[in-house]
């Protein structure tokens, strides 16, 4: 279980996250929704160890933690599917999958990569999310975009023992890609992991999510459960709510030809 208490992260003097408090329970999918710049990505980078929080606490099973690096977060069982998928294009599939947690053998001056173990891990991790027939020695830029995403998800599912954080790509995804993400989060929930899904699609969020965390200007604007909202509510909330109403009014004032749209 992951818990955030009064968590604040500042970019200079501007808070990117402002006193965010939320409990991410195991076996639950928490969808994080919000506009661009509302703090979604900052939340992801704090959970995955890329950024340290300035104030407040991040509790892992009740113990305050502060990850020095994403490697430490992954060692603690929190794995992330990054927005850019975090793959090095010229490297082989197995090098990408094991990057940051490479299996090694031998003692220090001669400690070397255990290539066979890494290949095997890769094949198993990909099989676990249902992808077969990928040559682990293939360079990643020879994979189709869908398979690159599979690789990123397989990596996170493989290393995430307690929590899975998914930051969806900003570009629209196809049905097949959404299916893949859906399978990953639901599978992780079934295994009792705390799942955080950052998404831009409220209907999709409503389909898979148990809880919905709405962020606005770095603050929690809403912490809702499936019982509180239906997918139309979520869509409305996502679309900007009050701000959109204000924008509509203002534009209609300035341009009466818009009429009553």
């Amino acid at each position: 279980m992951l818990e955030l208490r009064g968590l604040t992260v500042r970019h200079g003097s501007v808070p990117a996250l402002d006193r965010v408090g939320v409990t991410l329970e195991g076996g639950r999918i928490t969808c994080v929704l919000g506009e661009n710049g509302s703090g979604k990505s900052t939340l992801v980078s704090v959970l995955s160890g890329l950024r340290r929080h300035d104030e407040g606490e991040l509790l892992l099973d009740g113990v305050p933690v502060r990850f020095p690096s994403p490697r430490a977060a992954r060692a603690a069982g929190i794995a992330t599917v990054w927005q850019d998928l975090a793959v090095a294009p010229l490297l082989s599939v197995w090098r990408n999958l094991c990057l940051g947690a490479e299996p090694t053998r031998g003692a220090w001056p001669l400690r070397r990569l255990d290539v066979d173990a890494a290949r095997e891990t890769t094949v198993r991790a990909l099989e676990r999310i249902g992808v077969t027939g990928v040559d682990p020695d293939q360079p990643v830029n020879s994979l189709r975009p869908g398979l690159r995403q599979s690789l990123a998800i397989a990596r996170a599912v493989h290393y995430g023992a307690r929590a899975l954080v998914l930051d969806e790509p900003t570009e629209p995804m196809t049905i097949a890609q959404h299916t893949l993400v859906g399978q990953a989060v639901l599978g992780a929930r079934a295994q009792g992991l705390a799942v955080v899904l950052v998404t831009h699609n409220p209907r999709y969020a409503h389909l898979v999510g148990d809880r919905f965390l709405l962020l606005a200007r770095g603050q929690v604007a809403g912490d809702l459960t499936r019982a509180d909202v239906d997918s139309d509510d979520l869509t409305r909330l996502m679309a900007g709510g009050e701000e959109l109403t204000a924008l509509t009014t203002r534009l209609q004032e300035l341009h009466p030809e818009l009429g009553d749209r």
Partner: protein
């Protein structure tokens, strides 16, 4: 659907309120139970699926350009100046290739990591001069002098790395600055300290015989005098190749050069890796300086900024991408050999030396274009 019906009908589950909605709404249950295989074939694909072709396999070996170029120059000069491949000629080629190769391997490793070092040429000069000043006018033993200059070289490497990591400025500019500072200081300080622009007679320094055995030994084979620097070169190439492809550090270097953001997101210690890379190039610079200093037992103040470019040329011809993320240490060795054959060949043929530079420029251009093709078409990774 069938699965949901019992709970929907059971009054007991209705009384559970909120959790009823949470737990019974599982339309994806079939998927959930065991990550059912998704049909990957239906995932979107751009263009045609990858086909393994001969060209792809060739392009995936970036060092191949250097090997082909080497064959060409060997054929060319083999016909024109057969003397080049007499034992004496070979010894001269290897002597020249060894120093180029050590620098090329070090710079190649740095290029793979996505960085650049122009200061290695001046580190070579400065560390050799420092050793000579300490062991000559300073009257130190040669070993303490060598260790001191090694420490100084490491310090330069750390400063380079720290500046690059700290400022985030292009490493080309940062190392150009340190190179100029070092070269200017060395060239102007040497005559002041030693009283002459050249220090010689270092073989009188205490401990010279052992240092000479390590850095200046030679072996005569069939009339050619082969220097020990060839062994250092081979060791450096093998060591760097192993480091790059078979250690965790190497994987981090490759990832850092390929995508720094991805490396950071996956917890690669980007700063530490960068620092280590700069320390390694500085060490290589010191080694080259020492391997040039000891056999001659003298050192002169000549500008060496350009030799840093030579190392980059060697590494790029050898298939290290200037953009980072891929490279070949054996290729860099082949590149050094190619460069050395061309240089010695032009000299033996009695041509104007400057022609070799022009030819090298053409070769570099070809290597860069091939590198671009590799980046775009890397379909098979023979050395994964």
């Amino acid at each position: 659907m069938v699965r949901r019906r019992p709970s929907a009908l059971a009054p007991a589950s209705l009384t559970r309120g909120r959790s009823w909605t949470l737990e019974s709404f599982q339309p994806e249950e079939a998927l959930l139970r065991s990550f059912a295989p998704v049909s990957v074939d239906r995932l979107p694909s751009r263009g045609t699926p990858p086909r393994r072709r001969l060209l792809d396999g060739v392009l995936a070996r970036p060092g191949l350009a250097a090997v082909l170029g080497l064959l060409v120059v060997v054929l060319l000069f083999g016909l024109r100046v057969p003397d080049l491949f007499s034992p004496a000629g070979l010894a001269a080629v290897l002597d020249s290739a060894a120093l180029l190769g050590i620098g090329g391997v070090a710079v190649g490793l740095l290029l793979v990591g996505g960085h650049f070092d122009l200061s290695i040429g001046t580190v070579t000069l400065s560390s050799a001069v420092l050793t000579a000043v300490l062991a000559g006018p300073g009257e130190w033993g040669i070993w303490p002098a060598l260790l001191t200059s090694l420490a100084a070289a490491l310090a330069v490497g750390l400063v380079n790395g720290w500046l690059v990591v700290r400022t985030g400025l292009p490493s080309f500019l940062v190392t150009l600055a340190t190179a100029l500072v070092l070269q200017g200081t060395t060239l102007s300080a040497l005559p002041l300290v030693a009283g002459a622009p050249r220090i010689s007679g270092l073989d009188a320094a205490p401990g010279w015989s052992s240092a000479s055995a390590v850095f200046g030994a030679t072996a005569e084979v069939g009339g050619g005098v082969f220097p020990v620097s060839v062994l250092w070169w081979l060791a450096a190439t093998a060591g760097a190749g192993w480091l790059l492809w078979r250690t965790r550090f190497g994987n981090e270097v490759l990832a850092m050069g390929g995508s720094r953001r991805a490396a950071r997101e996956l917890g690669v210690p980007v700063r530490r890796t960068t620092l280590v890379l700069y320390v390694l190039t500085a060490t290589a610079g010191w080694l080259i300086g020492t391997l040039a200093l000891v056999p001659a037992a003298s050192v002169g103040a000549t500008p060496t900024l350009v030799t840093a470019i030579d190392y980059v040329v060697v590494a790029v011809i050898g298939g290290c991408l200037l953009t980072g993320g891929f490279g070949s240490m054996a290729g860099a060795a082949a590149g050094a050999l190619l460069y050395a054959v061309a240089r010695e060949g032009v000299e033996l043929a009695g041509w104007d030396q400057r022609w070799s530079q022009a030819a090298l420029g053409v070769l570099l251009l070809v290597a860069l274009l091939v590198g671009g093709a590799v980046r775009g078409r890397l379909r098979a990774a023979p050395r994964s």
